[in-house]
Symmetry: C3
Subunit: 279 residues, 3 copies
Amino acid sequence: MTSASPAPPVITFLSDYGHYDEFVGVCHGVIARRCPTARVIDLTHLVPSHDVRAGAILLRAALPYMPVGVHLAVVDPGVSAVGPHGRRAVALRTIEDGHVLVGPDNGLLMPAAERLAGVAEAVDIGESVERLQPVSRTFHGRDIFAPVAAALADGQPLAAVGEPLEPAQLRRMAIPTAHLGDGALTAHVLRSDTFGNLILNAANEQLLAVGAEVGDALSVAHAGTHHTAAYAATFADVTPGELLIYEDAQQMVSLAVNRGSAAKLLGADQDDELVIRPA
Amino acid sequence: MTSASPAPPVITFLSDYGHYDEFVGVCHGVIARRCPTARVIDLTHLVPSHDVRAGAILLRAALPYMPVGVHLAVVDPGVSAVGPHGRRAVALRTIEDGHVLVGPDNGLLMPAAERLAGVAEAVDIGESVERLQPVSRTFHGRDIFAPVAAALADGQPLAAVGEPLEPAQLRRMAIPTAHLGDGALTAHVLRSDTFGNLILNAANEQLLAVGAEVGDALSVAHAGTHHTAAYAATFADVTPGELLIYEDAQQMVSLAVNRGSAAKLLGADQDDELVIRPA
Amino acid sequence: MTSASPAPPVITFLSDYGHYDEFVGVCHGVIARRCPTARVIDLTHLVPSHDVRAGAILLRAALPYMPVGVHLAVVDPGVSAVGPHGRRAVALRTIEDGHVLVGPDNGLLMPAAERLAGVAEAVDIGESVERLQPVSRTFHGRDIFAPVAAALADGQPLAAVGEPLEPAQLRRMAIPTAHLGDGALTAHVLRSDTFGNLILNAANEQLLAVGAEVGDALSVAHAGTHHTAAYAATFADVTPGELLIYEDAQQMVSLAVNRGSAAKLLGADQDDELVIRPA
């Protein structure tokens, strides 16, 4: 019976707006006015303020689990810059699956788009007919991104909401990559999650490539100090308080402390380099 | 195709319930039982606890961006008071656009209603047939406000959910107003947002009226200290760490620090008086 | 008019995932892919990390206010344990009202189920055909619980999403109970809410049974210290800063400080014993 109803269009929404102010709710309201049937899924609004890279990594991680739809992302420290230093506002369609991404052209959208085989089509939406006028200088989420996302969810094509833009002109984002050498894996902290787990930029297979096997003790060098971590299949394989390294839910490698915080134990922060090798 | 589905009724929801407890979710459940098709938009639930004025200012700021619908707002320090000191529970319809507001009669709803030309009709819902019985003494959001809001979203008229009440009997809220004099603008802090921007109670045109122009340096006197702020069009016009004053997303005046916190720099708090003049 | 639309299926969702990461949003996405018409109500995602009992108490408190539907709950410290120490993943249907609960078999679901007359039918969903493969070791919310909940909301019977399990095999949860004796009520702190109110495991009628009446002063002994609390009907019956004891919104007894925090005043924590008697 429920399958008789058509699936509503989906808009996912990620930002650094936080929950303290009305910003997120106002964007939901703007969406509901333009596309009343859209279902909005909040990915997270607690991206660290102005941290475009953290937002890009979160969006890339979440997108494979989302329905095909419109994905609105706003982490936008350059919102109020104009002229030669200004950033574009853009909407783009991915080659794989035809997801539509909407946000500032500051790199935020690109790691997610690249995971979906890149950009098939892009438009500059800074002067979109869908924008709310007058456009404020500081709240483009409300005035440009949300109404354009809603129009796209309502079925408008990209060409109707902006000016054509060569995909090659979109601003890319550099994210450090892990590498193998001297019998060790040199990796970096992408970010730490709410439990203090340190999410690294290395695939589990890279760890296997340095000769490590689940059950081994590994040496983890960070900022001049050395730690020993158990290469474990599960948290339960180590005692509470013990450091472990494991294949996380993204098939990547993470460091954790069973019922504790690896971020605190190591004192590690985003982009920190870790050198991991069999102990 | 998506436009074939009728627009679901919308209920917006603002409170000081926070996210730690199940209060917000329980109200959503109560709404879903009474009006299963209603879409609920959470404006914010992090209004500072019991701060009716902060809630009123947030509601007033957000409402112009919401679809026409029912707006549920609960910041209710007097929830459990009864008798002569008790506050009413009310629902009202605005003259402009016919928005329906539901909440305690403690001033919370009135700044928003006044922005929409005032109150056309009001009812006392304390004994509403829609309330959940037994009504608890401490959780009227669940027992009175949410079910009444859901009934109104489901199409019930005001007269069906409460007893008629003269709009003149509704409790107003005093919010300080800015004024011009001696070549200066005397304004007040309405609140600070999540970025530490100080939102003032002055319109941008009042700042222009003291002879200030974008690009000028302005003197900002607060609590015996003086600061210099750049009257800027955009954050990018000042260097990181610099104080600026600008027209915010509400066409009002705000103080900010580029990539910093004006609230911290000035040590300013709600209702603090600021005297602003050309430097 | 709105009543012409069928009620969408409802999934409520409680977890300790927090809002900082994308975990909650990813589960919403997984649900939307499997059952696009489902409406998801977030009960709370700020259950203290790994605190199964706090989650169980919150779920039990909230469920009576929810529509009949599917209730997804994930507080799962044993997620990655396998073999003899592993916990099952389960879905169950309650005897009363036919609510469906989905989550880990660690006691989390049982207090809520017992309030609804117990479990009519249960299945082990660890190897469900609905799970997302490969199943990660650490994020069963995404890979098992959310897709199974969505399938159930879409109308699948329990038997189609898991293997039959005797309800008697489900893991129970012990929650301390209050008792009367020596003219006193011995109660315990279940948890403290966001306002610092201490929610006790005693019904208001148990307090009446020791001879207390609203208006009395009561003695509250805790950790070797004694406090006096007013047995009040409402917060407004005591002066700001004063300790009161009252019948809360669940018909249970709570301790509060008018415009303050009882948790801070008493320095009380979960499971602490309180002995309450007429002063």
